[in-house]
Subunit: 126 residues, 2 copies
Amino acid sequence: MLANQPHTIAACNARLAAVGDALYAIGGKWKLRIIVALMEGPRRFNDLQRTVAGISARVLSNELKEMEMNDFIKRNVYVQTPVIVEYELTEYSRTVMPVVEALSEWGTQHRAYVQNKGREESALAV
Amino acid sequence: MLANQPHTIAACNARLAAVGDALYAIGGKWKLRIIVALMEGPRRFNDLQRTVAGISARVLSNELKEMEMNDFIKRNVYVQTPVIVEYELTEYSRTVMPVVEALSEWGTQHRAYVQNKGREESALAV
């Protein structure tokens, strides 16, 4: 079904493994949203928490640690009074942008699809 | 950072919302893997469970129900002895293919990146 890819069991398994690897690293509810929130530039913790609606401080803190270990973000500490800590996307995080773009396009069309389906169903219910 | 997209707060919020919508529908550990596993054709429950390594029967059953409600898969019941139940991708599930492709490509390069990083770190440790 994918363009330019042969449909063998080996190809299917390779794709399954690759998608599994990707979801392991950037799947879950928050990581891609945090990346999108940092696309405009570095942000401080509280600012980031406000932007990624619904995330708790504890979960955000854990996600940021994992993302730092995976080279997606850098944590910059500015030693001054008060100390400022900012999170910033790395060069490597840019490799995720085609995924963000594909998800963003699909999310937009899926919202339209669900709304349209809802309208059709309420028209049938009348 | 995304090509051809203006970088305003409104654009960022719209993208955040679209990515959020997409992750809500196809995020999580399993849905995309189930879709990839069905790309070769319809499968029965046990066959699907073997292909999607690590999923329990209860979780697979729940995921399939949600995916049916979201128009990603069809459940075909063949009334015969024994009754055969097969799961199949819908036309609509094809809209997800660009996301699968982007994730699959990214997963492949990320695996290479992590392996390379591991080699560099063990070289440093020697």
